[in-house]
């Protein structure tokens, strides 16, 4: 069970929000049987990655032949290392491998939901973002010096070994909003 918690913490921000959600509660309200209470939920969530996603119509290379890309969560923990073809974009690769990266506008540079943070040495190899990508990055949450939109980054051989870190997903009222009203 402990293992399941850890895996969830790495891969799924629902855990993070739930964790924060209980942290503010007076101890008598805090679930004392966290694992029991949530075991069913965990079970369900662990299956959620299989839910139908919008795949980017890419194929996987034969193992050992593709360009390696590491996905990490916002805490830097490795989610998984995958291999992809020259020309595949990070959003499509994420969807192909069930990485929890959104792409609300389906790659048309009209949103910032596929924001990723790249390893600096690889970021520097990329051409400058176009204006439209920069305009969307203005609105991304958890922006860093090496932020890009995943849908705009196509892999090349020289990017082999790049890391794409998912930003902290919750810039919302659950984590950094106002304190709850208690009485």
């Amino acid at each position: 069970m402990r293992l399941a918690w850890n895996r969830l913490a790495m891969s799924h921000h629902l855990f993070v929000t739930s964790h924060y959600r209980f942290a503010f509660l007076p101890s008598r309200f805090r679930p004392t049987h966290c694992e029991a209470t949530y075991s069913v939920l965990l079970h369900v969530i662990s299956h959620s990655a299989k839910a139908v996603r919008c795949h980017g119509n890419i194929t996987r290379p034969d193992p050992g032949t593709g360009i390696r890309l590491h996905f990490r969560d916002s805490k830097g923990e490795l989610i998984k290392t995958v291999e992809a073809h020259d020309g595949d974009d990070i959003l499509s690769i994420a969807h192909e491998h069930d990485i929890d990266l959104e792409g609300a506008c389906e790659g048309s540079v009209a949103c910032s939901t596929c924001h990723v943070i790249l390893s600096p040495e690889h970021y520097n190899l990329l051409p400058e973002p176009e204006d439209d990508e920069n305009d969307m990055l203005d609105m991304a949450f958890g922006l860093s010096e090496t932020s890009r939109l995943g849908c705009q980054i196509k892999l090349t051989r020289e990017l082999d070994g790049m890391t794409a870190t998912l930003p902290a997903a919750t810039r919302n009222m659950f984590v950094d909003g106002k304190k709850p009203t208690r009485h």
């Binding site: 629902l14 929000t17 739930s18 959600r21 209980f22 509660l25 309200f29 679930p31 004392t32 049987h33 029991a36 209470t37 949530y38 069913v40 939920l41 369900v44 969530i45 299956h47 959620s48 299989k50 839910a51 139908v52 919008c54 795949h55 980017g56 119509n57 959104e102 609300a104 506008c105 389906e106 790659g107 048309s108 540079v109 009209a110 949103c111 910032s112 939901t113 204006d131 439209d132 920069n134 305009d135 969307m136 990055l137 203005d138 609105m139 949450f141 922006l143 997903a169 919750t170 810039r171 919302n172 009222m173 659950f174 909003g177 106002k178 709850p180 009203t181 009485h183």
Partner: protein, 508 residues
């Protein structure tokens, strides 16, 4: 798990994103999946809220999440991936979700929609264990000195006009309007300005109703002033919308006074967006209209009028009186004492929106529902059991679609967190212990509900062909696309047309 039967009031993006999250956390092949039901009620007959009735027609890429399958009409303009099943349709295809369009739950601030079926919130109670209010911000915030009149209209009326919203506001008198003053400097202000400035021929291929195009083709508009009481660094518009306006064909921006766009003193911390907006404006300030490529032939002009606050019309009714303003030490706009007048034909107020004050749990101070991390609070600040709010109804009218999505996912997580807490006998988070299910004022039932039941009024409404289901909407949607002539995204239908179409095709 105890049954989770959720009624969502409002069928906009937030509602669909919450539903999407819940349904995907309980995939259909899960044993627990059968315990989940979601019913979405929308006061409009068509789903998707602001995506259909708010997003500017020339921004089809924002609506991509609800685009019909098949080749996009504007294939060169919209690089969308063909294989993607779009999200809201995918959500609605789940048999556990039902959509009831054209149903007004509870009271609303006029203008009312005459054809929508009224039902009280309490009529839903026996049928649902959970309630989610995703009713958005439907009421425009007005300017105290500029109430709506024959020459002052809220931007929302203009947006509703060009999206053919069921409230059907009358068209603006553009044939006798040369100068428009837009009050406010957010993205809605820029959307409105762009719609008025764009050559109508460009708009022809987008999702703009033919009747709207007629008015735009006869428009006499020559200039749009976009007026704000503070400066470039405080403006609410985003970089994309500003850049779009500065590169609009056939319209040029009047140069800005260099001191307005001077870089702030060293040590001032600018956000990334602020510096990029300043950069765009600095480029514009250095460019006079005569040196802008194409400016000589530009038919229309626009300007950003910073540090101006309207105080009303002058006595002749033809000029807008403006108080000049400056920032105080807390970045608030204060009058400098100087004033000026601006000759104008039409004023459009774009000052934001708030939730409907008629809605239950409305908080006048914030302009949206009283909530705490997704949970609705009563007047004493106590969280109501199993009653939630999401989207603009909960957060106020701000943020782009991505923000709405992230908020919706968090609310879905809160619903599940509380639900699993409830079912194990632990106190629901944020609820007090003595909050009993049998409270007379409870808005939802305990777990003892029929998973398929709906209120009698809704059953009757479906039978009387007053309520639109999602599969019926999909038929209308396909027909709208078909009616769009060669090269046009779609031709919208109003309620009467949609109803006649559904009757003729026996789709009811």
């Amino acid at each position: 798990m105890a049954p989770l039967k959720l009624a969502i009031i409002g069928g906009g993006p937030s509602a669909f994103y919450v539903a999407s999250r819940l349904l995907s956390l309980f995939p259909k092949d899960e044993p627990l999946a059968s315990q989940l039901r979601i019913h979405i009620y929308d006061r409009l007959w068509a789903p998707h809220g602001l995506v259909r009735y708010g997003v500017a027609p020339d921004h089809p890429e924002v609506k991509v999440c609800v685009f019909p399958p098949g080749p996009p009409v504007l294939s060169n303009a919209i690089p969308l991936s063909q294989n993607c099943t779009h999200k809201f349709d995918e959500v609605a295809a789940d048999p556990r979700l039902r959509f009831f369009g054209n149903v007004q739950v509870g009271p609303q601030t006029p203008p009312a929609i005459a054809h929508s079926l009224p039902i009280s919130l309490s009529a839903l109670r026996p049928h649902y264990t959970h309630l989610l209010l995703s009713t958005g911000c439907t009421v425009p915030t007005l300017h105290a000195a500029l109430p709506p009149s024959d020459r002052t209209i809220p931007a929302l009326s203009l947006v509703h006009w060009y999206t053919q919203h069921p409230t059907r506001p009358s068209p603006p008198p553009l044939h006798r309007t040369e100068h428009v003053s837009v009050i406010g400097q957010g993205n809605v202000a820029l959307d409105v300005a762009r719609m008025l400035l764009t050559p109508p021929d460009v708009l022809d291929r987008y999702d703009v109703p033919a009747s709207v195009l007629d008015v735009l083709h006869r428009s006499a508009v020559r200039h749009v002033s976009i007026i704000g009481r503070r400066g470039p660094l405080q403006a609410a518009f985003t970089t994309k919308e500003l850049r779009e306006l500065t590169t609009l064909p056939g319209a040029s921006m009047l140069p800005l006074a260099p001191e307005l766009v001077a870089s702030p003193p060293a040590g001032t911390k600018l956000t990334r967006q602020q510096s990029r907006i300043l950069q765009i404006l600095q480029q514009r300030a250095q460019t006079t209209t005569t040196t802008t490529p194409g400016a000589a032939t530009a038919e229309r002009t626009w300007s950003l009028d910073f540090f101006r606050s309207p105080t009303g019309f002058t006595s002749d009714g033809r000029h807008l009186a403006l108080a000049h303003t400056a920032l105080d030490e807390r970045s608030r706009a204060v009058p400098t004492g100087a004033t000026s007048q601006l000759r104008t034909d039409l004023v459009v107020t774009a000052l934001g929106h708030h939730a409907d004050p008629e809605s239950a749990y409305y908080d006048p101070a914030s302009g949206h529902l009283r909530t705490d991390r997704g949970r609705v609070l009563d007047a004493t600040g106590r969280a109501l059991r199993r009653v939630y709010a999401s989207g603009w109804a909960a957060t106020g009218a701000r943020g782009v679609l991505a923000a709405t999505m992230i908020d919706a996912y968090a609310v879905a997580d809160a619903i599940l967190g509380d639900h699993f807490g409830d079912s194990s006998g632990a106190a629901g988070a944020g609820c007090s212990d003595d909050d009993d299910d049998d409270d007379d004022d409870a808005l939802v039932s305990s777990s003892d509900v029929d998973p398929e039941s709906v209120p009698r009024e809704i059953e009757e409404g479906v039978r009387d062909k007053r309520i639109v289901r999602y599969d019926q909407w999909k038929k209308v949607d396909a027909e709208e696309v078909r009616r769009g002539e060669e090269g046009k995204e779609r031709e919208r239908m109003g309620w009467e047309e949609a109803r006649d179409f559904l009757t003729r095709t026996a789709a009811w």
